[in-house]
Symmetry: C2
Subunit: 321 residues, 2 copies
């Protein structure tokens, strides 16, 4: 069972032992987003999927759940999650296991997306890559030598705060928008567009993806916003490439996977004589997390003694800190 | 046998199976720095050490050699080495083995320094750290989850080109100085000092370390140069911390290990609410590479079937790309 906990929705996918999805569901999060409420929603969803697809719950071998925050995989805790108020050191793994009786594991959602792309998406057979999600903010899943890199305190991949030429040199702070996020996130792109257009007629409020659509259609101002965004994204990818020597960066998220941005970023990177990883679009889109969760659930089932065929073991991996 | 090939000197250290150094030597590189000449110098040095310390050559179980350039550990090749003209895809591992009959391994010198600090230096028992060497240029050895990270094409750690606020946004190019190097390397520091002093009397040409000494003694202009250098270094460390979630950065090299720079960098990092790794000075200094080489030679001996006590196996490791 793969689970993706978003800011407003919980998605579930029941898969067989080859990793093929049998059934999916999603539930909106109500006003009560407490760990207990979210756990109950997941448990109810599992029960429902189990009934709908006639798979007895005791045949569900593992649950892997992705959380939108810093997650200590070893301790099974969501350490913090900005979009889930009050989530602080939540023992989600044990909550799920206790509620369902099924072996569970938790992981950060962007990390799961990286695992998904590694298993079934744009990063298949790539040992060193970064999955870079850009939506309202920016975050990354870092896969090195075929294993997810978590870092010393489970917070590797915080690239939203990366410092680059032309950006603020202020020290990163929790309550301040990250330097990189402040130019490549959805909101700043919309603001840049609004500013460029001033009070003009065409200056009506547009989403970042609409602005990029316009750029693709040749709109000059939109192209200006696009190429500025791509220039910063290319510099961030350059820094990642310099430090990590990547062969691939996979762009995901509503903003990150826009074809015009991807194309423009590739063009900007073409000037690099080195630190120029291949740039691919997420091929799984919003399903990347769920695929990553399924992969991780299969690993977890495996580690709990269930041997199976069909899925290669430890293609990508969960490494210790 | 640990070997450190520098731009002008080859250093050798003969160690016993506990890793204790029995004897050391160094030989200057003559005008002929061809792979064949360097191999001969190393072989002659080994023969001499073997005689001087009465250790038969056939008892030397492995040679690990560090080269000042991008090194493909798996293929045993030095891919390029800017300070050794004409070194391009040099099969140094096989050259050494064929010349000496001793199992050999080659590695990048900064990576060896990182391994040295991990084994016997400032990074003992630290799973996630970066060794950052600053001299004329800047380079890094990246240790993640206890293993050296090499990257997709053996060139991870090229941080001399890192792009930061206030620096050039030009694409990295082989013949251009790296963005970060152009402010924190020895030469740029000396130039900044000269520029600040103009034609004034105190403006005589000083080395970077002398300038930092002056800063430590309270000289205002020198402090200006120091704090500017530290600010950039702190931003580079911040970016590394954001991406990799490090618990430690070890500063090495003639410029990097200066106490005033280390202190000033720590102060600059103190403003970070996160991405604030502990900053330590290399505790092995110029010997870090040789210690790393000895550690790697011990691993290599181990892999060639020699079991020994005294050295824990695979504390840090050489990972595949």
């Amino acid at each position: 069972m793969g689970v993706d906990i978003g800011g407003s929705t919980v998605r579930l996918a029941l898969a067989d032992l080859s990793g093929a999805i049998i059934g999916q569901s999603s539930s909106g999060l109500r006003s009560d987003r407490s760990p207990k409420a979210v756990t109950s929603i997941i448990a109810a969803g599992i029960r429902q999927l189990s009934r709908d697809y006639n798979v007895p719950e005791k045949k569900i071998l593992a649950i892997a759940a992705g959380a939108p925050g810093i997650t200590d995989v070893a301790a099974g805790q969501v350490l913090s999650a900005p979009n889930l108020t009050g989530w602080h050191k939540v023992p989600l793994r044990d909550l799920l296991r206790d509620k369902t009786g099924i072996p569970s594991i938790v992981e950060n959602d962007v990390n799961l997306a990286a695992l998904g792309e590694s298993w079934r998406g744009a990063a298949r057979d790539v040992a060193n890559f970064v999955f870079l999600a850009i939506g309202t903010g920016a975050g990354a899943g870092v896969v090195l030598d075929g294993r997810l890199h978590h870092g010393a305190a489970w917070s590797a991949g915080e690239i939203g705060y990366m410092m680059l030429p032309g950006l603020s040199s202020e020290a990163p702070a929790h309550l301040r928008l990250g330097a990189l996020e402040s130019v490549i996130g959805g909101k700043p792109i919309e603001q840049a567009w609004a500013q460029l257009n001033g009070a003009s007629k065409s200056g009506k409020k547009l989403t970042a993806t609409k602005i990029f659509d316009l750029a693709g259609e040749g709109n000059t101002r939109a192209r200006e916003v696009l190429s500025r965004t791509a220039a910063f994204l290319a510099m961030a990818i350059t820094n990642l490439g310099l430090v990590l020597d990547l062969s691939l960066v996979v762009l995901g998220g509503g903003v990150g996977s826009h074809p015009a941005l991807v194309e423009s970023t590739r063009r900007a990177l073409a000037d690099n004589e080195f630190a120029r990883p291949h740039v691919a679009v997420s091929s799984l889109g919003p399903a990347a997390q769920i695929y990553g969760a399924i992969w991780l659930a299969l690993q977890t089932a495996d580690e709990h003694g269930f041997r199976r065929g069909g899925v290669r073991r430890r293609r990508a991996g969960v490494s210790n800190s």
